[in-house]
Amino acid sequence: MSEYSAIGKAIPRIDALEKITGQAIYGDDLKFPNMLYAKALRSEYAHARILNINIEKAKKLSGVKAVVTGKDTPFLGGEALMDYPFLAIDKVRYVGEAIAAVAAVDEETAEEAIELIEVEYDPLHVLLDPQKAMELGAPLIHEKMHTYQRLAVIKPIENTNICHVLQFLKGDVNHGFDESDFFFEDTFTTQMVQHGAIEPHMAIAQVDPSGKITVWVTNDSPHRLRQDLSSSMGIPLKKLRVISPPYVGGNFGGKGGLKVETLCIPLALKTDHKPVKMVLTREEVFTSSLVRHPGIVTLRTGVKKDGRIWAREAKVIYDTGAYAEKGPTVCHQACVAAVGPYKIPNVKVDGYCVYTNKPIAGAYRGYGIPQVAWAHESQMDIIARQLGIDPVQIRLKNGVEEGDVSPTGQQKLNSVGLKECIKKVAESVDWSRPKEKYRGQGIACAFKNTKTPSGSSAIVIVSQDGTVEVLASTVEIGQGSKTILAQMVAEELGVPVENIIMAIPDTDITPFDASTTSSRSTFHMGNAVKKAAKDAKDQILVIAADMLNADSSDLMIERGLIFSKKNPSKKLTISQVIKNEYKAGLDIIGRNSFYPVADGETGGMWSAPSIFWMYGAHYAEVEVDIETGRVKILKVVGAHDVGKAINPFTCLGQIEGGMVHGIGPALFEEMIIGERGQVENTSFLDYKMPRSLDIPEITSIIVEAHHREGPWGAKGIGEMTVVPMAAAIANAIDDAVGVRIKDLPITPDKILRVLKEKGNP
């Protein structure tokens, strides 16, 4: 019954063949003539002044071609707040910070040279607790914070370690508390976790004789990286080229921003045009790439006796580590969603993004929202239990609907599939069945915004034989963007998906795209390629109209054949049309851009109103062993509102993968920080991620609440799929054994401790 030829189809991914045959090329597979290999010397101190760095012995080692320190890199970069030195300048702020880098003929020589570098430190007071770090009078991690360039929306507090503070107000929260029948106050915390992409970060930098720098890098956003490098190094965009490897082996937010290229570029500037390659070790990925913000979220909530949430105040403290990275905007976006996807008349949210001497926290699948969802969804069940209301019913009673004002009051919501997600999840399981001993069921829901405004451009080139090449800078990080963008172009142009080639992102070739983040590619780049394909189609139809003696508005293209609706028997191929018009050869080039701005109160980029919101609900069923405190997850279900599934196959894969990803931080993943600020568990042996034996029975469900501006109604999905998992599991554990854990991860010892307090075994 499908009205579509290419979208909405569960086709296999177009990149699968390359990947299953081992032919797909990733960053570490790139090798160039005369390539040099780089290693970094990293700080052993979490906070110290650098008194002296002696690189003389390292420079003299045979095979060493360049050694650089902070003296060679007087640059500060960073997306939200420009505080990030390529190499430490004057002081170090976390264990693992790069102090010097070496390029040599091979990795072994580079490592040997690193050992020869001597650093004299003067240790400073180490701040590991964000609540202590944000106190007035705390030692400053960034003494010159007030001088850093920043986005308009970012508000640092001078002479503190708070790099961003924000507030949202709606109604009158104190009045709302007065009018409430019940009052709840709980604090929920989350631990430091890491993205865990299996491919480590890498970069190769090369400088040509004109001084132009080319970087091949596992980054989720080539154009943004080029802009970041340009602004921090003070060189024009034309002197920078960022190329994505054909494939990136997982991202989850961990491969955005300035990373390995900040070491390769300074080295490449000193190596006579030889390319410099660096691949992080797994230990370096743990200590020196990026983590998810540890969060402290306090919710004060007033509830009417019928279960209506009447007032909610949230205090959100995000520990962003040594540098701001995307921390301030992570905190900001999270605060917009901190009170949950509910109709609450009185809201107050206070957010603080705080520096500590720990690994740098930034974007992580969900962009701060997993931490606040953990809080509001855990408290939702605490409220439901006390009021004797079913957890599904209390969410349906309060949940937002089409046309409602967003919880922090900036905008009216459109395309709201929240309640359908909750209902679909509850219907798919035996929700109200009698309770079995030590077994429990839990549900949680959430919503997530996308960064707004942001833009995408695309070019669609139709060649003479009907081959279509799409120039788009969305990076294939595993999410399936190549496949769904090809499906959208095929649909719009009326050609088979097999005719489409997706170009590899390259800032010299593929046009601007803000980023492959924020679950924005389907919506933003989807619209851009759709509009560019339409532009190409219109040009083809104008030529065809002449050839068919028809009006171009009566023409259509199906399976690559052009015909008039009025006289469908006479058909032309796209190839015939192009060749007829341009006998000596030419391409038809369609181009367009998409730059949506959300309605509502805005304070500029990243402020609050979002062009779309994603909604989802998760269910978990657990069994708790009260002897050991161990939790066995028996079953999980996830329903997600994607607007329109361009490829149901890849949507379901995202939901399954996201739910399992969410189980790790819920139950066992945690980066342990030692007294000196060092990461204690820097391997997959000591940092446990879900393995095949950890997975329960899994059901994934697609909900489609059409978005009026989405391509064919589509929105996004990638990040939402992890968001409600932790709270759904915690709620199931509470249902099973009456234990409410408020600090992640929910380890057996925490459960046993509470069971003991309650007088169980």
């Binding site: 991914r13 045959t21 990803h661």
Partner: protein, 156 residues
């Protein structure tokens, strides 16, 4: 001091000189040019570099190439034969078992070793066979299913 070793990789004989401290994964990737075998941790904990050594799955980052003299290695590039995909490759594609693809080579080889030993495994046996292979994208669901479907197709 380099060692001279003789081995077969994907059915082809090789006679190569290598340094005694070169790991099998670096040897395959850098010396032979078979980059389908991936490096995720270099410490035997992620399984991305899994290859078959005389039919048994091993982490090629933990094996010295010098110790593979006289042995038979199978990498992802050798899974298909005569231009035809291995049934596991087909089902990985059809069942959606591939996302970023970085774990895929290792997964395929762990799964092949299982099916060679046990042509009709149950779900738990499949999960055990790939327990050493980390995947952050898929949640393993479709990988497990792809292995089970391949087993059925192969007549197990």
């Amino acid at each position: 001091m380099e060692h001279l070793i003789n081995l077969r990789i994907n059915g082809e004989p090789y006679e190569v000189r290598i340094k005694p401290n070169t790991t099998l994964v670096d040897f395959l990737r850098d010396k032979i040019g078979l980059t389908g075998t991936k490096k995720g941790c270099d410490t035997g904990q992620c399984g991305a570099c899994t290859v078959l050594l005389d039919g048994k799955p091993i982490n090629s980052c933990l094996v010295l190439a010098a110790d593979t003299n006289g042995k038979e290695i199978l990498t992802v590039e050798g899974l298909g034969r005569d231009g035809k995909l291995h049934p596991l490759q087909e089902t990985f594609m059809q069942e959606g078992a591939v996302q970023c693809g970085y774990c895929t080579s290792g997964m395929l080889l762990s799964a092949k070793a299982l099916l060679d030993e046990n042509p009709s495994p149950g779900e738990e046996e499949v999960k055990k066979a790939i327990a050493g292979n980390l995947c952050r994208c898929t949640g393993y669901v479709r990988i497990v299913k792809a292995v089970l479907v391949a087993a059925r197709k192969m007549g197990g």
